[in-house]
């Protein structure tokens, strides 16, 4: 059956490659009175063309694009404007094809552009001061304020022969269709070097990088599904019990189980690299992503109660992760925020600019740390009691965390759990940053402050609630205060360690101050973190479980107010 399907898959992809993807066919309606123009328009399948004289038909409002008497007009809607723009591209391809065939290439293409990129520091400071406006000059003269380096006068001649250029022009995709354009990104494509005609000077198109996400992430997602199911299956038919009774420890079993999937994922990714003709360097940023997917698969497989829950959890996880990986890489080459995603490194590698070791550390550190954390948590809980119980998801996660703690040293455990939770908290917060940084400034900051406060308070409460449920008699008033202090200490230590280690680029900015309470002396954030934990702990002691949600909200409000006052001063 599998073989039949694989053959069917091959045939299907062959068929699809032959006929192209018909997703946007005929989305724009066009009308023209000129047969030759109709032929040009019909080159692009997004148009459905009517050949008639619009003056005789009357109402041209029903069409998105009207070409009459050698003049193109857009229809009266946003769709009409989009159609006109699509036609501009199609027309450019048409003229390009005509000109490339000219015998005197430099009469057809009299202007060549040599693009030089100048390095400039772009960081969050630019966003703060409104980078869009920064290049607008108020005065009449522009003069550099810093030192001026001598720039050699560029040569006025092209270093390439006309025939080489013609070949490159012909190789440029003459089709604006989505598929060929994306395929062109992977094949050798038009290698025009630095010389371009004006129409080839395209500004970076953000969603081109979308394709890297799909090509590299989806196989990983499917494979991690199998890993997830293999774990879940052992739980439903209780085969896992036999494994657990062998002398192999949980870590050995987990590593053994995950190894084939890891190798399979590496294999698939390598195959994609081979097919796309890329460099194997792109595997470097993929490895932490693969490991993170596997760790998450293990956790989901160990926590889901039923197949339904497994499906929903895995869909939720993959959507969130795809967004985390995808959003930042949209801004590859555009904004430093893009480096949060390892996929950006792949985009950069394919784009030819490569990445440095510092970029690698910055983009992947959270993935390595989170993977280690989740794996450790799963290893601690890979036992009969946890695997075969039928608790609800939230209480199961709570007992997972509690069993990772030491019963005899609950406060020391609180410090450790909170310090260790930092990579995951940072991941969530960076996600907010990615989602919100391009909103207008006061709103992005406000939303970030609120969401970050809520996330941090929720994360800190997990350790407290695990201890509270795990050792019911422990929480005397004195111990509540100690637990809050331990939580605050653990959070602060983890936060500062990780921040100093890697995220200096973000933390130096006002966004960093908002997200990681990096403003003020060390004792101030310590008090803040402890206060939040204290509110939650006290509320649990007084009001029990029902007080949990209001307590989190209150703690988040206090946290947000603290940040607002500090940032308000900083702004």
């Amino acid at each position: 059956m599998t073989a039949v399907l694989l053959v069917a898959l091959l045939l299907a992809s062959g068929f699809a490659a032959q006929s192209g993807v018909h997703l946007q066919d005929g989305i724009y309606t066009a009308i023209t009175d000129d047969q030759a123009v109709a032929a040009i328009i019909a080159e692009n399948t997004v148009f459905s063309v009517t050949l008639a004289d619009p003056r005789q038909i009357g109402g041209t409002d029903a069409y998105d694009l009207i070409v009459v008497g050698g003049e193109a007009h857009a229809g009266p809607t946003a769709k009409g404007r989009a159609a006109l723009s699509a036609f501009a591209t199609t027309y450019r391809h048409y003229t390009g094809a005509v000109y490339t065939g000219e015998s005197d290439l430099f009469a057809a293409y009299p202007l060549w552009i040599d693009t030089v990129e100048v390095e400039s520091r772009l960081d969050f400071d630019a966003t703060e001061s409104g980078e869009i406006i920064s290049a607008v000059q108020r005065g009449d003269t522009v003069r550099p304020s810093g030192p001026v380096e001598e720039v050699p006068t560029p040569s006025a001649t092209l270093a390439v022969t006309a025939e080489d250029l013609r070949e490159d022009l012909a190789a440029a995709p003459a089709d604006s269709g989505t598929v060929t354009r994306y395929l062109g990104m992977f094949s050798d494509g038009p290698d025009l070097g630095e010389f371009k005609t004006p129409s080839q000077l395209s500004p970076p198109l953000p969603f081109d990088s979308l394709i890297y996400v799909f090509v590299f992430i989806f196989p990983l997602y499917f494979t991690s599904q199998f890993a997830m199911m293999s774990v879940a299956n052992e739980r439903t038919d209780r085969r896992g019990e036999i494994l657990l009774s062998t002398p192999a420890g949980p870590l050995t079993i987990i590593c053994g189980k995950m190894l084939p999937y890891f190798l399979l994922m590496i294999l698939i990714s390598s195959a994609i690299v081979l097919v796309s003709g890329g460099s194997f360097v792109v595997l470097l940023p993929l490895v932490p992503v693969i490991l993170f997917f596997l760790a998450a698969a293990l956790l989901i497989g160990m926590t889901a109660r039923s197949y339904r829950e497994l499906s929903f959890l895995s869909i939720f996880f993959s959507t969130v992760m795809t967004s985390y990986l995808f959003f930042p890489s949209v801004f590859a080459n555009v904004h430093v925020i893009s480096l949060i995603s390892p996929l950006t490194l792949i985009v950069l590698e394919f784009g030819g600019s490569g990445f440095s070791a510092a970029d690698y550390l910055y983009a992947t550190a959270l993935f390595w740390l989170s993977t280690a954390l989740i794996l450790w948590l799963c290893t601690r809980n890979f036992n009969e009691e946890r695997l075969f119980s039928q608790e609800r998801l939230t209480s199961r996660l709570r007992s997972f965390i509690f069993s990772a703690m030491s019963r005899n040293h609950p406060f020391a455990s609180l410090v450790a759990v909170n310090a260790l939770s930092i990579p995951l908290v940072f991941m969530v917060q960076l996600m907010y940053l990615v989602l919100l940084f391009n909103l207008p400034l006061p709103w992005s900051l406000l939303l970030l402050i609120l969401l970050a406060a809520l996330t941090e308070e929720a994360a800190k409460s997990i350790g407290i609630i695990a201890v509270w449920r795990g050792i019911p008699g422990l929480f005397t008033w004195k111990n509540v205060v100690i637990a809050a202090a331990a939580t605050g200490l653990g959070f602060l230590v983890g936060e500062k360690l990780l921040l100093f280690a890697m995220l200096s680029q973000v933390t130096g900015s006002v966004f960093g101050a908002v997200l990681f309470s990096g403003v003020g002396l060390l004792w101030m954030p310590f008090l803040l973190h402890s206060a939040g934990a204290l509110i939650v702990g006290a509320a649990l002691k007084v009001g029990g479980r029902g007080a949990y949600v209001p307590a989190i909200l209150l703690a988040a409000a206090v946290h947000a107010a603290y940040n607002l006052i500090l940032i308000g001063g900083a702004l």
């Binding site: 066919d25 000109y99 202007l111 990129e117 409104g130 290049a135 720039v151 929903f312």
Partner: protein, 356 residues
């Protein structure tokens, strides 16, 4: 077959989903996607449609070095303030972000045999490069046209001329929303539901609860259709929720009822494929694997046929008139009916062989 029995099973499955609170995840997911589309609206509009930015009114500065040429005036026309300056100063100002770009123009005569080679300096990794890039390109293209006119007596063939009004941006955004995002969102519930039906069916086998169910007055095919119905009913609900979320984000979808109809009919076909895989394997891993592989093959084939359901949904959502829309719906509906008949027969055969 008893409709009440079918509804009982459907209710049981839906209750299961509700009890596990997994539906909370589904709602979170929808909120997430809502953020996703607002992100696109804000972020991508900024990138694609520079005029949407208020700060542009004053005009970007461009450094100009080298010989005089009409490019100077063309850049001014595009709203740039052009500063004639020394090349080294221009590049230094550029790296300090006092300029959006700098050009160096050689003194090649317009009618020379060689091309005119202009050097364009831009800032690396800069969001404003995307904003200004389009206008700089337009200025350069106009200049290219002027040079081409000067040299036109050396050309063999001239292309047909069509005058296109300049400054027509936004196509990428429109096509991204309607041509990619909308079909992705609308068909995602269908794909989710098809993998849900596999869970519904295989779970009965792996938890060995099927015998218990069959000892009640329910027949095997009633159980099956109840599950199919539960999975199917979720599709229009979720797709409708996407449509509302998109509308809140300012993306209006035309022809809502026909769009939902197309999605519902196509999703029934997908769900039945999932059900057949689950009935055949009775075990989740294999069934999901076969279903996923089959899904890719089916999608590839469907997408390569002009006028496929996804294409029709795109056209309908974008408000394009679709004369063949109902025919397309009938074809897909016919396919789904055939699949349904096959599923029913298969279920009966299984029931005969497994029940005493």
């Amino acid at each position: 077959m008893n409709a009440r029995h079918i509804l009982t099973i459907a209710r049981k499955e839906l209750r299961g989903i509700r009890n596990e609170r997994t539906i909370v995840l589904a709602i979170l997911l929808q909120v997430f996607i809502a953020m996703f589309s607002s992100f696109l609206v804000v972020g991508l509009t900024t990138l694609y449609d520079p005029s949407s930015l208020g700060g542009l009114a004053g005009g970007y500065a461009v450094g100009y070095a080298g010989a005089d040429s009409p490019l100077d005036g063309l850049l001014e026309e595009k709203g740039f303030s052009v500063h004639h300056m020394d090349l080294s100063d221009a590049v230094a100002s550029l790296s300090e972000r006092k300029l959006a770009a700098a050009v160096w123009v050689p003194d090649t005569p317009p009618d020379a045999a060689e091309p005119v080679k202009i050097t364009l300096y831009t800032v690396k990794n800069d969001i404003s490069a995307s904003v200004t890039g389009t206008r700089i390109r337009e200025a350069l293209e106009t200049y290219e046209g002027m040079l081409r006119d000067t040299r036109s007596d050396r050309l063999d063939v001239l292309p047909i001329e069509v005058a296109i009004p300049s400054g027509s941006g936004g196509q990428g955004f429109f096509i991204f929303i309607y041509g990619l995002l909308v079909p992705l969102l609308l068909f995602m519930p269908a794909i989710i539901s098809a993998s849900l039906i596999i869970d519904f069916i295989t779970e009965e086998y792996s938890a060995r609860t099927l015998e218990t169910l069959l000892s009640t007055p329910l027949t095997f095919s009633e159980i099956l259709w109840g599950k199919v119905f539960a999975a199917w009913v979720l599709v229009p609900v979720q797709a409708g929720a996407w449509l509302i979320l998109l509308a809140i984000n300012g993306i209006t979808i035309a022809n809502v009822v026909p769009v939902l109809l197309h999605v519902a009919v196509a999703s029934l076909a997908l769900i039945l494929i999932g059900a057949i895989a689950a009935l055949h394997y009775r075990e989740r891993t294999s069934a999901q694997f076969i279903y996923s592989t089959a899904l890719v093959a089916v999608l590839l084939v469907v997408l390569s046929v002009p006028g496929n359901p996804v294409n029709l949904v795109v056209l309908l959502a974008a408000g394009t008139a679709v004369p063949a829309g109902w025919t397309g719906l009938l074809v897909v509906g016919g396919g789904a009916t055939l699949l349904a008949l096959f599923t029913e027969r298969y279920a009966r055969r299984i029931a005969r062989t497994t029940t005493p």
